[in-house]
């Protein structure tokens, strides 16, 4: 037997391979225990809420659970004509149960989302159903209001039968499923979301462009200045990070408002007249200015970290080989900063696309973004499932951008710091 094949044993006789694995396993468990709190934290604060959001955005169980018997009896109904007596009976039984539990109001709200006009007829049905006699529920219910005799309303109820729905996503795109099951646009005067999506993309895009244009020279300066100056400049760049976002936004309000410092200055130097002050706030300009300033460090830092690694001798080499300063910059320096540009732009764009506080405070009506709409539905209409759907649409939009970036530049070609 050659020595290579011979099993190596430890002093107590167990094979070395086994005891090594044992020792490594212990280390692996220890290492895992160290990261376990973080893992748990991420699951609780990130994976779980996003999963919940996803469920909420497609969840349509409420009506399904409120009218279990109705939907069971509706299975055989083809929806062409008014449903048979047994459906009406099942609906009556479900409805009585809801009245007992005082949940019929919720049903009316939910059904009203699907088709307008349910609220009043359910209220009426509630009043009248107290005096219903046993049997022949179809006649009695139809007698309550003529809409109960309209097949459209029964179809609307049937449409709510599935436990899951993508209606909220359609709504986020200003579309809906009509009575015939076709997906159509809402009437033009009611399209709000598409404008908001486009505006969000537009503002995020231009904020990214402005940030890039401003950050590139700053980052270059930071990377090339002697240490004592670059440290000072770095502090200036980072200073906004150390100030509360609200404070920064509020100071922009002081600067930009019509009686604000910038306007006062314009009036003083005679750029505008006193009664003709520029509106720089509560519109897109406000969002642009404040967001660019706030997101600037996110562009400067990745650019700086990449530029720091580019040897100054490369530019010199470019020049000594005969390239003009511009050629040396464009052919040598610029391509080497692309990983930083990619990282900075991706970061700023993704942050800008979901920006909330600043546009809410300085954006006004024309400067608000989709996230403000999400917040509106979270807080005011309490339509959480719609808010979740839009949140997820935003998230998938970001993922699409990420994917596009990966296709165009390559995600390994990115440097965050």
């Amino acid at each position: 037997m050659s020595s290579e094949n011979k099993q190596i044993l430890t002093t107590d006789g167990t094979p070395l391979e086994v005891s090594l694995k044992k020792a490594e396993k212990k280390n692996k468990i220890k290492a895992f225990l160290l990261v376990a709190p973080l893992l748990l934290f991420i699951i609780i604060t990130y994976v779980f809420p996003i999963g919940d959001m996803l469920m909420r955005s497609v969840d349509d169980k409420m009506v399904t659970e409120m009218l279990p018997k109705t939907y069971k009896s509706m299975e055989k109904w083809d929806g062409k004509e008014l449903p048979p007596e047994e459906v009406f009976e099942a609906f009556y039984i479900d409805f009585q149960k809801l009245i007992e539990e005082e949940r019929e109001g919720k049903l009316s709200t939910q059904l009203n989302y699907t088709k307008n006009g349910f609220k009043s007829i359910i209220k009426k049905l509630r009043r009248k159903s107290k005096s219903f006699e046993e049997g022949n529920y179809k006649e009695q219910i139809m007698a309550v209001h003529r809409r109960w005799a309209d097949v459209e309303y029964w179809r609307a109820i049937k449409r709510r039968a599935p436990a899951y729905t993508y209606q909220k996503y359609l709504k986020g795109m200003d579309m809906y499923e009509n009575e015939k099951g076709e997906i159509v646009n809402v009437s033009e005067d009611r399209r709000v979301h598409r404008i908001l999506w486009l505006r969000t993309l537009e503002i995020a895009f231009f904020v990214t462009v402005f940030c890039f244009l401003m950050a590139y020279p700053i980052a270059h300066l930071l990377a090339t200045l002697p240490m004592k100056y670059s440290n000072l400049l770095m502090i200036c760049v980072l200073l906004p990070f150390w100030t509360s976002l609200l404070v920064r936004t509020a100071s922009w309000m002081i600067l930009l408002q019509q009686q604000g410092i910038v306007n006062d200055f314009f009036v003083t130097i005679g750029l505008v007249t006193d009664d003709n002050r520029v509106e720089m706030m509560y519109n897109k300009t406000g969002s642009y200015v404040a967001m660019t300033q706030i997101l600037l460090p996110f562009m400067v830092l990745p650019l700086y970290s990449v530029m720091k690694t580019i040897s100054p001798s490369l530019m010199r080499a470019g020049k000594s080989l005969g390239g003009t300063p511009f050629v040396a910059f464009w052919k040598v320096y610029f391509p080497l900063t692309i990983p930083g540009i990619g990282a900075g732009c991706l970061l700023v764009f993704i942050l800008a696309i979901g920006y909330y506080i600043t546009p809410a405070l300085v954006g006004g009506a024309s400067g608000t973004l989709i996230s403000n709409q999400i917040a509106f539905h979270m807080k005011s209409t309490l339509d959480w499932s719609f808010a979740s759907a839009m949140g997820l649409m935003l998230l998938s939009g970001v993922l699409v951008i990420y994917w596009l970036y990966n296709k165009l530049v390559g995600i390994d070609n990115i440097k965050l710091g």
Binding site: A317, K319, S320, L336
Partner: protein
């Protein structure tokens, strides 16, 4: 055809970065066409600054630099047409070897087929055919160095500057690259200005060496002259090994002087001393002093062996001689050196011609 003796000319060049300290002082330096001149000196001696001024990345504070008779101080670097090899190669990491070499040709708008020929030629010169499509990151340090050399030559510059190009390579590679660069220089006849702080590199490669110290050229001469005949004690100390005695001139005549040490007198060759009573440092190369001098030498003294270090082909012997306990001898290893033993008293001798009386340190 006459060779232009003043192909590169530094004329009374001063350079100061902060307006307080001159890093280059009143530099006067002529470099002939086709010459390989090395600027050698310790760090901070001003040699790299001189190179940067020649390349155009720094401007002289005073004076003028001429290239082939034209003043170039006001010409930007990209119009000087000087090839340059940088310390860390400065290859463009996002371009292939081919693109790196094509860069100087493209900016000169040289047609592609002609450029391809030039690139092939340059790559074969550094024996890197077949590497054209590699990225610099995939090459070893030595290969990157060759690419950098090829790139600096591909556009046929008249002058190539090299700024410590071999500093990052290991010893063996550095030595073989020294010969390679030397051979390239000989075969294409380009003028090379080379900066290094490594004296053996300078001695191996150069036609002439300019030794820099304190912003000044201390000596500009061929390698052998620099080693054999240093003109001052800095050069003697900086180039090669050196034994020194500090003393005072007690007698001086044509070609010879007597130097009074603390406890003896020695004879020396007066180089930078003229008068009796001057302080001086006498410099003797270790290989010029012999153990048991047989022929008639005019300096013979006794010393005690303090240390013996075996070096393979030779043995280094440290001797306490005339009050200098750091006197080094290099003894070739042969069977005859039997009495080199620690503590032995031996006779040491040298010719007064080889003992150069220089300026005091």
């Amino acid at each position: 055809m006459s060779v232009n003796k003043e192909f590169v000319k530094f004329d009374k060049v001063d350079k100061s970065y902060d307006g307080k300290i001159l890093v280059v002082k009143d530099l006067q330096l002529d470099i002939a066409e086709g010459e390989f001149v090395t600027m050698l000196g310790p760090s901070g001696s001003g040699k790299t600054t001189c190179l940067m001024m020649l390349a155009g990345f720094e401007t002289p504070t005073n004076g003028e630099i001429y290239l082939d008779g034209n003043a170039i101080s006001s010409i930007p670097p990209h119009k000087r047409g000087i090839g340059m090899v940088f310390q860390n190669y400065a290859l463009f990491p996002h371009m292939t070897v081919y693109e790196n070499l094509a860069f100087p040709l493209r900016v000169r708008k040289i047609p592609k087929d002609e450029a391809d020929k030039k690139i092939d030629k340059a790559l074969s010169m550094v024996s890197l055919q077949g590497f054209a499509q590699r990225m610099p990151g995939q090459l070893s340090g030595g290969q990157q160095q060759r690419v950098a050399v090829a790139r600096s030559l591909v556009f046929d510059p008249q002058l190539v500057l090299m700024d410590e190009p071999l500093g990052a390579l290991d010893k063996n590679l550095r030595e073989s690259m020294q010969y390679e660069i030397k051979h390239i220089h000989e075969s294409i006849g380009v003028t090379v200005v080379y900066v290094t702080h490594d004296q053996s590199e300078a001695l191996t490669m150069s036609n002439r060496i300019a030794v820099f110290n304190d912003g000044k050229v201390q000596q500009l001469s061929s390698p052998d002259e620099l080693y054999e005949k240093p003109v001052n004690s800095f050069v003697a100390e900086f180039i090669g090994e050196n034994n020194t005695f500090a003393g005072e001139i007690s007698d001086i005549s044509e070609g010879k002087c007597k130097v009074k040490l603390a406890n003896a007198d020695i004879l020396a060759n007066p180089i930078s001393v003229k008068e009796k009573g001057e302080r001086t440092t006498v410099s003797i190369r270790p290989e010029r002093a012999l153990i048991n001098p047989t022929d008639k030498m005019d300096n013979i003294h006794k010393g005690k062996i303090e240390e013996v270090i075996y070096h393979g082909d030779h043995t280094r012997v440290r001797i306490n001689l005339l009050g200098n306990s750091e006197f080094i001898l290099k003894v070739p290893n042969s069977s005859s050196n039997l009495d080199i033993k620690l503590g032995n008293e031996i006779k040491i001798g040298w010719n007064s011609d080889d003992a150069r009386a220089l300026d005091p340190k």
